[in-house]
Symmetry: C2
C-alpha cells in the first residue's frame, strides 16, 4: 500500500513525541508499505513565530509572515527525518519549494493548484520515507505561501491525491470524528464511517478535526481519509464517498458553533438590489456572512438578519452604518447580539427521510429553547439559539436522535 500519514502539531510537540511518531512511521513502512509523511509545526511554534512578527509590526505584511511561520514545518519535518534515520530507517525531508506545491498568491490562506510528485515517487520507490513540510507552498514567482490554519491536513490529502495513495491517515490527538463534542456530551460516540458531504458540513459547522479544504480535496479526488489517534493504534473514523457507507444513518452528528454573532438591520426598503447594497461592502471587506434571514415585508420595508464570525462583528456594524446611511439616509436601525450559538444536525439520510427538521424543533421546544433563525441544506439543519442554552440543546439533540446508541439501534428514536 501507499500510505500518506499526516501528524498534527500536538503529535510532534516535543522531542519524545517526534521519536514516537518516527517509530510509528517506520513500523508502518516496515510492514510493507510505501510511506509519505506530512507534518505540522511543533505545537505552539506557529503562534510563537506569529507573535515575533507582530512584535516587529502590528499589522505585518502577509508575504513576510509566511516566510517566518513556514519555518515551523521546515524544522519539524527535518527533525522527524532525523528521528527516523536514528531508528535505522531511510528518510528525507521535503519543503514546499522542493516538491513544487504550487499555490495561488493569497498569502496566509493560499490554495494548492498543483504538486510535482516526481521526486517523491523516486524517493518512495527507493525505500526512503518522504517527510513533507505541511502548510506551505510557493506561488508562481517562488514566494513562500501558507495554507491557513489546519493547512497541513490539506497538504496531506493533496499529496495522497497526487501520489494516488490508498489512504490519507490524519493522525491527531483525538480518536476520530465524534457524533458531537465529547467535552460537552460524554455520551458522544466515535463515528466509524462518514461521507465526505457530511464531514464537509461538520467541518464547516465547527467540528475542528479536519480542515474544510482537505475534505473538499478528498471528495474531489476520492481519497479515503482515515482520522485516528496518533497515540493509539485503534481504528478511527473513515471519511469516504457516500456509496461506500455500509448503512446510511439519518443523523450522523450534532454540532454547536459558539463563535458567531448576529446582526439585524431593520426597516430596509424591500426593493431589488437591497441585499447587494447590504452584503457587497461586507464581502469587499473579506467578511463571510453565514445564515441570512429576510423577514416578510410590511409597508415595503423588511428586516434582514444574518450571522457572521464574532471577531468581525464590530467592523461589520461600522461598515453597514456608514455604507447604508449613504445609500438611503432613512436611518435604518442596526442591532446586534454576540450571545448566540448555532446548533446543527447533519446526516446524508435526511435526503430520503422527511421529518428530521420537525423532530429537531420538537426536541428544542421540549427544553423551552427559542429558535431565532433556521437554515437548512440537503443534509443539514441549523438553528440559531441563545448561547446560554447551547450545551443543553446539544445534549437534547444528541439523545433525541439516538446518537448515544450504536448506529443499528437508532431506528425507533427517528421520525418515520
Amino acid at each position: 500500500m501507499l500510505i500518506v500519514q499526516k501528524y498534527g502539531g500536538t503529535s510532534v510537540g516535543s522531542i519524545e513525541r517526534i521519536e514516537a511518531v518516527a517509530r510509528r512511521v517506520y513500523e508502518t513502512q516496515q510492514a510493507g508499505n510505501e510511506v509519505a509523511v506530512v507534518v505540522s509545526a511543533m505545537s505552539g511554534e506557529t503562534n510563537r513565530l506569529l507573535a515575533l512578527a507582530r512584535e516587529i509590526h502590528p499589522d505585518p505584511n502577509d508575504r513576510e509572515v509566511d516566510v517566518i511561520v513556514s519555518t515551523g514545518e521546515q524544522v519539524s519535518c527535518a527533525l522527524l527525518a532525523l528521528a527516523i534515520r536514528k531508528l535505522g530507517g531511510k528518510a528525507r525531508s521535503f519543503l514546499g519549494h522542493q516538491v513544487k506545491v504550487l499555490t495561488d498568491s493569497a498569502h496566509a490562506r493560499a490554495r494548492i493548484k498543483s504538486i510535482d510528485s516526481t521526486n517523491l515517487v523516486d524517493c518512495l520507490k527507493s525505500g526512503t520515507i518522504a517527510v513533507i513540510a505541511g502548510f506551505q507552498g510557493i506561488d508562481e514567482n517562488g514566494n513562500i505561501t501558507t495554507l491557513g490554519r489546519g493547512g497541513s491536513d490539506t497538504t496531506g490529502v493533496a499529496f495522497a491525491a497526487a501520489l494516488q495513495a490508498d489512504v490519507c491517515e490524519i493522525l491527531t490527538d483525538v480518536d476520530g470524528v465524534y457524533t458531537t463534542d465529547p467535552r460537552i456530551e460524554p455520551n458522544a460516540r466515535k463515528i466509524d464511517r462518514i461521507s465526505y458531504e457530511e464531514m464537509l458540513e461538520l467541518a464547516s459547522l465547527g467540528a475542528k478535526v479536519l480542515q474544510l479544504r482537505s475534505v473538499e480535496l478528498g471528495m474531489k479526488y476520492n481519497v479515503p481519509i482515515h482520522v485516528r489517534s496518533s497515540f493509539k493504534p485503534d481504528e478511527g473514523t473513515w471519511v469516504v464517498s457516500e456509496e461506500e457507507l455500509v448503512e446510511q444513518v439519518v443523523v450522523s452528528g450534532v454540532t454547536v458553533n459558539r463563535d458567531e454573532a448576529k446582526i439585524t438591520v431593520r426597516e430596509v426598503p424591500d426593493e431589488p438590489g437591497v441585499a447587494v447594497s447590504l452584503f457587497k461592502p461586507l464581502a469587499d471587506a473579506g467578511i463571510n456572512v453565514d445564515v441570512i434571514i429576510q423577514n416578510v415585508s410590511a409597508d415595503n420595508k423588511t428586516d434582514m438578519t444574518f450571522t457572521l464570525p464574532r471577531p468581525d462583528r464590530a467592523r461589520a456594524v461600522e461598515i453597514l452604518s456608514k455604507e447604508h446611511a449613504q445609500l438611503t439616509n432613512r436611518g435604518e436601525r442596526i442591532s446586534w447580539d454576540d450571545s448566540i450559538a448555532k446548533v446543527s444536525v447533519v446526516g446524508v439520510g435526511m435526503r430520503s427521510h422527511a421529518g428530521v427538521a420537525q423532530k429537531m424543533f420538537e426536541l428544542l421546544a421540549k427544553e423551552t429553547i427559542n429558535i431565532q433563525m433556521i437554515s437548512t441544506s440537503e443534509i443539514k439543519i441549523s438553528c440559531v439559539i441563545d448561547d446560554k442554552y447551547s450545551e443543553l440543546a446539544l445534549r437534547a439533540l444528541h439523545e433525541g436522535f439516538g446518537l448515544h446508541l450504536p448506529a443499528d439501534q437508532r431506528g425507533d428514536v427517528l421520525p418515520r
Copy 2:
C-alpha cells in the same frame, strides 16, 4: 551608490536591535543609495537549532541539519523586512532558493558557485530594499545548503560582487579590524586600511572579524569591504587591494591562536613517501594540519611535528597510532601537547623589508620565551610557543613592532 550591508547575529539579536538595524538600513537608502542587506540569524538561534537536531540524533545528517539551521536566517531576514516596512520603507526578503545562491553539495560548509541577481536588480531599481538571508544556498538538486560559521560574511561579499556594489559593509559588534586582540592588549589600534592578503592571513590566524572565504571572494572580485560597528556611525576598517593602500606598513597586526595542539611522531624512517603515509590518513579523516616541521635526519630517522585544531588531536593520535603501526611496525613514538599557542605577525611590507623575523625572535627571546616551531609565508611569520606565554608574547610583539603608535610614527621601532 549601491551598498551591500551585512549584519551579524549580535546586531539582530533582539527585536530592539532589529529595529535599530532597520533604521540604519533605511537611512542609508534615504541618503540616496540602493541598498541590499544580508542578515545572520538572531544570536543564539543557530546554536539552539543545532542543539534541537542533536537532541534527536547524536550525529545528525548534514542535509537535514542544513534544513533546520537555515530557518534562523529565514526568520531574521523577514523580521528585518517587516521592521523596515514599519518605518515606511519598501523592503522584501529573499531566501537562498529565491535568489538562486547555487552552491556545491558540501552541506554545512558549502561554497557558492553562482548567484542569480536578476530579481534583486529589479527590486533595488524599484526603490525596494532587498533583505537577503545569509549563510544559505541551494545545490543543483534544490537541497538547502549552508556555508559554515561566519558564512553570512561570504553571502554579503558574494552579493556585492554579483551586484557590482561600490562597497560591502560588514556591520558587526566591533569597530573594525585591530592590530591585535584588544581584550589582551588594551593598546591595540583600529586599522584604517588593510590589504586583502593581510586580512586573509589575519583571518586564517584566528582574527574572527571576517570569514576567510569572504576575504578570498572580495580579493577575487575586488570588492571593497568595510568592517565597521553596527552600533556607531564611525568609519571602521577598509579591506582593499594592495595598490589602494596609502602607505605600506611593515607589520599590520599581531595575532594569537590558542585553539591548536601539537603532535610529534619520532623516529620516522627518513625515506620518500613517509610524509604521505603520515598525513594522507589525516586528510582522509577531514583533519586539517597546519604548521609542519621535519627535523634534520639522523641515522635515517627523523622527527615530524605538526599542529592541528585541538578538538581533532585525540582522533589524529588514534589514526596515526593505528595506520602508522601497520605501515612500519617499528613502534614510532607519538607524543602530543595541547598547551601551545601560535603567535604571528602579518604585514605586506615584509615583502620588501628584511629583518622582521629576526626582530620577532629577538622580542620573544627578550621575554625568555622559547620558540618551538616556526612557519613563514611572504607576509607572515608564525611561532609556536608554550601557551602560558601567549598574552605576554602578544603584548611584547605588539609594542616591539610599534603597533601601539599611529602608522606614520612606527619607523624607528622597525629593523632597517
